[in-house]
Amino acid sequence: MNERYSRQVLFSGIGKEGQAKILSKHVLIIGAGALGSGSAEVLTRAGVGKITIIDRDYVEASNLQRQQLYTEEDVAEKLPKAAAAEKRLRAINSDVEVVSIIGDATPELLEELVVGVDVMMDATDNFETRMAMNDVSQKYKVPWIYGACVGSFGMTFSMIPGKTPCLNCLLRSIPLQGMTCDTGGIISPAVQMVIAHQTAEALKMLVEDWEAVRTSFVSFDLWRNQYTSLKMSKAKFAGCLSCGEERTYPYLDQENMTKTTVLCGRDTVQIRPSSAGEISLERLAGQLSSLGYVVKGNPYLVSVEMGEERMVIFQDGRALIHGTKDLTHAKSVYQRILG
């Protein structure tokens, strides 16, 4: 066994046998932001055989405070996060096969990427992608590890098909107007705490120590000193459309996805959310202006200036992103604010 992994091999939970398993496994990381950078670095250093990482954004200055794989140079070059991540991960451990994909993690693409994968890591910033990951996990029987954070608060939960409840059991629908790092801010320790939980779970799964996998839902607030671990044995929902008897995998269906359309000749993209529902425009306007955005509004809509783009959000969650024709970019701008 390689000297490189000697300290991890000495750890009784892993050992030589566990390390051999880690070296032969494939992890798919969805998102290369704060959680994705951290998970990818831990798993690359641990010697995971193959890591596939997908992201649709490029590196910006506001990422550097917490997204550990990136540098000022990446910002200056406006490198796609997936490409910048691949470069850094290869420099960290050249034995790991790193595959980076610059693009949107659509259900269709996830169904292609999941083939041959042992564990999926959640490092996305929106619930639509998480629900799609959840359906892919159930359909292809690949475990995934939910993780999310905002402010000083974070949460994580490991989902094993056929064993634990799934994300759709817990939420039953996509939360509209979830808090995001762009609306609620984020401190790096909250990110690191989620990464620590997620990657510890991943290592347990990679060495196939299923008994050790945490069955509770963890949430914490590092600023207010709260930590809870919820028992989830009653959370499995028999009628769940993702993991129940009558499953339909609703989030793999394009009908249930956010719709993006370029509006002809207007340099504008329209976004229609997957679940209908009302958002509180007043609350949104207040939140955005307290963050220093230039916000205008009336009882029907909120308009916010965001660098080169302007986003107009209506009460039913529909939005127009002015100043771009790029569908993926527009969806990213939207989900940064509305989760």
């Binding site: 949460m155 817990l170 939360p175 809870t228």
Partner: protein, 78 residues
């Protein structure tokens, strides 16, 4: 009486205290959510996860006097 804890932005919305004392015995989780949402003008509560005595509770679960309730909003940042 019931001790009710709020996580993340919900804690700010109810004034920042560590917990509230609420008389929730006999109410369902959904009823308590609706009551608190109206009283404190809380953002959308239907997808907020609820724990009763540190165990996941569905919206139709009935709360007993003395149960400890926690509201944990799923967050999407990553």
């Amino acid at each position: 009486m019931n001790k009710v804890l709020f996580f993340a932005h919900l804690r700010d919305a109810v004034g920042g205290a560590e917990f509230l004392s609420v008389d929730a015995g006999g109410k369902t989780v959904a009823e308590l959510k609706a009551e608190l949402a109206a009283k404190y003008d809380l953002p959308k509560m239907d997808t907020v996860m609820t724990a009763v005595n540190e165990e996941f509770a569905a919206n139709d679960e009935v709360i007993q006097d003395g149960d400890e309730i926690a509201f944990i909003p799923p967050v999407s940042g990553g």
